[in-house]
């Protein structure tokens, strides 16, 4: 079992009768260890709902979700909360940092909640901030950081409990072009270090860095491409300089 994440027949419905909406409509997904998968689609296609189902933030109407071989769709609230804290790292479009806590306090918080000692949590948080290139901003409040820096703090926080999978929802949605590049560099680094990543986005730039890109429409997967491998390196083609 080298699939970190597995979903079968996943469905999420809202409303009833005439007003029934199938936000997620029969999704099967396997994510291998160390793989980066991007799910792309227009807003309203159900990709955020899918991410919430995968990460246990929401429960499916039907279907199964397994994390490292363990079913998580039917487990109790406490077990689900524990799973979210220790096994899944979340990154959101609007960062969701605590405004009154410094960068390092934001990062260490989830380790503290997971029961680590304050000293171990602080050490880990400092390491992670170093990893995301923000060691010198550790004592800053989020309001003193740029959008890109805030998102890097959020990524560090997501990694704090060494999750099996990091789930990111439009992580570059609020970022300008340069900050997007920083976050992409960070994701590439995570990918190289073997972190499993699932990113839902409508930003093609992120999708292009994934191993696999899945297109989602009206709650279902409609197309899938494997982007990794086959080093093209034909940069001349980008300018039409060759053909």
């Amino acid at each position: 079992m080298n699939n970190v994440l597995r979903a079968r027949g996943l469905r999420k419905e809202y409303g009833t009768g005439e007003s029934l909406v199938r936000a997620v409509d029969g999704v099967d997904l396997d994510v291998a260890a160390g793989e980066t998968v991007a799910v792309m689609g227009p807003s309203g296609c159900g990709k955020s709902t899918l991410l919430h189902l995968l990460g246990g933030l929401d429960r499916p109407s039907a279907g199964e979700v397994s994390l490292r071989g363990r079913r998580v769709d039917g487990i109790g609230e406490r077990a689900l909360a524990r799973m979210r804290r220790t096994d899944v790292g979340f990154v959101f479009q609007s960062f969701h940092l605590m405004e009154e806590l410094t960068a390092v306090e934001n990062v260490e918080l989830s380790a503290l909640l997971a029961g680590r000692s304050p000293r171990a949590a602080r050490r880990r948080a400092e390491q992670l901030l170093e990893q995301v290139g923000l060691a010198d901003r550790a004592r800053f409040l989020p309001s003193a950081l740029s959008g890109g820096q805030r998102q890097r703090v959020a990524v560090a926080r997501a990694l704090s409990n060494e999750p099996s999978v990091v789930l990111a929802d439009e992580p570059t949605g609020n970022l300008d072009s340069a900050a997007t590049l920083d976050v992409l560099r960070l994701f590439e680094g995570l990918h190289e270090s073997g972190q499993t990543l699932v990113i839902v986005t409508h930003d093609a730039r992120i999708a292009a860095t994934a191993d696999r890109m899945i297109s989602m429409r009206d709650g279902a997967f409609v197309d899938e491409t494997r982007l990794s491998g086959g080093v093209s390196g034909r940069l001349g083609a980008l300018l039409g300089l060759e053909d």
């Binding site: 560099r185 093609a204 491409t225 982007l227 083609a237 980008l238 039409g240």
Partner: protein
Amino acid sequence: MQQEVVLAMLAKEPSHGYQLRARLRDALGPLGDAMNAGQVYVTLTRLEKAGLVAVEKSADGPDRSDRKVYALTADGQQRVAEWIAEVGWPSPDLAEFHLKLIAAARAGLADPLTIVDRQRHELLRRLRDAQRAAMAEPDRSDAALLLEGIVLRLQADLRWLEACEKSWSHRRSGR
């Protein structure tokens, strides 16, 4: 006028030159206004010389070019099939890609959504390459600026492909 576009417009059935012009005008709307009336005929003559189209019959005498009915030859059909399957960037340009979808759907040569998917895969690969190159550049290098331009153009094209996909899946389900 791109020769392959004219060829593909003939793929469904043999047509008069004026019918081809009307189809192009429908497909291009106001953007087709700049199209010179003679362009289609010049292209057809070239295609005939190249053996890709043949004149089927002339109703009112050989000198009335707008009475000729043009049909694809076997070579012409071959060329259309190759053109439909071609993926790339920066060519085909917007109009050429747009007409490719229309011609493919009209003649039943290929599913427009498959063409859109293939083009998207190609663009995503290029976006990945451009981005890898951009990430390897030091900040504010000259090359980084050029690469940013390429990335932005690819993103814009990918967004348009989304619009194409939406429109063509609606047309299909509306049928």
